[in-house]
Symmetry: C2
Subunit: 119 residues, 2 copies
DNA sequence: GGTATGCTCAACCATCCGGTTGACTATTGC
DNA sequence: GCAATAGTCAACCGGATGGTTGAGCATACC
C-alpha cells in the first residue's frame, strides 16, 4: 500500500533519464548530505549557472528536488522517493546478479593458487 | 573486491540512459524470464524490427544484453551485472527514503479514524 | 540610491534519440 | 533454385538534451 504511492510518484522513463547524467547525480549526492543553493550545486561542475539551473529543473520535474526561495538564494532539498521507485524496479533483477556473483565466487573458490589478488 | 568489478562494467550515464526507455525495460523484463530473439522482443512493441534492433544494440553497448547468432535468428540473453551497479548507486540513498517512509507510517499511526484505507 | 549578487528566462546551437523507410545479407523450406 | 523469413545497416527526420550567451529581476550591501 505504501508501494502504491512510491510507484506513482513519477514515471520511470523520466526518473532514469534524470539519473542518466553525471552532473545531476553529483548534485543528488551532495544534496543527500545537506540542502544547497543553486550556486553551491553549480560551483564544482564546469558549467554556467544557467546550465546548472536547467539540471536542477530536470530534477525538480521528476520530483527528486524541491526548491524553496529564501531571499535571492534558491535552496534545493533532496526528495528521495523517486529513487525508491527506481530501486524497486531494479530489485526485481536482484536474483539474476546474485546468481551471477555466486558463479564467480564458485570460480574463485575452485582456483587452485588463489591468494585473493584478482589478476 | 567484487564490488570493484561490478562498478567497472559500464559507466553510469550509459546504464541509466539505457534504462530510461519503456521499450528497453520491457525487453529486459522479458529477458529475465528467458532468452528471446530480436523478433520476439520486437513483437509486442508497436515499432519496426529495425527500431527494436537499435534498442537491443543500446542494451548490448552497455553490457545488459549479449546476442548470439544461431542461423538466421539472433538470440538475446540478459546480462544483469550493469543493473547491479545501478542498484548499488541507488542503495546509497536508501536511508533517505526509509526515513521518509517512517515519517509516513508515523503519520498513519497517529491518524485518529484510520482504517487502513488510503483515500 | 546605486551597485554587486543570485538566479531565471529566452534564444540559439550542436548533438543525440527514437522512429521510419529502403536496400541488403544470410538462412530456411519447398 | 526460389521465395519467404530474420535481421542489420545507412540515410533521413523531428523532437529532446545539454550547453552557451545576453537580458532581466529580486535581493543584499554600502
Amino acid at each position: 500500500m505504501l508501494n502504491y504511492m512510491v510507484d506513482q510518484i513519477a514515471d520511470m522513463d523520466a526518473v532514469f533519464q534524470a539519473l542518466a547524467n553525471g552532473a545531476r547525480r553529483n548534485m543528488l549526492g551532495r544534496l543527500a548530505e545537506t540542502d544547497l543553493t543553486v550556486g553551491q550545486l553549480a560551483e564544482p561542475l564546469a558549467m554556467t549557472l544557467a546550465a546548472a539551473s536547467k539540471h536542477i529543473k530536470v530534477l525538480e520535474r521528476v520530483g527528486l528536488v524541491r526548491q524553496t526561495v529564501s531571499g535571492r538564494r534558491h535552496v534545493c532539498h533532496l526528495e528521495p522517493m523517486p529513487l525508491a521507485s527506481a530501486a524497486a524496479w531494479l530489485r526485481f533483477y536482484e536474483r539474476h546478479w546474485d546468481e551471477r556473483l555466486d558463479d564467480l565466487e564458485l570460480l574463485f573458490d575452485s582456483e587452485p593458487t588463489g591468494d585473493g589478488e584478482v589478476r
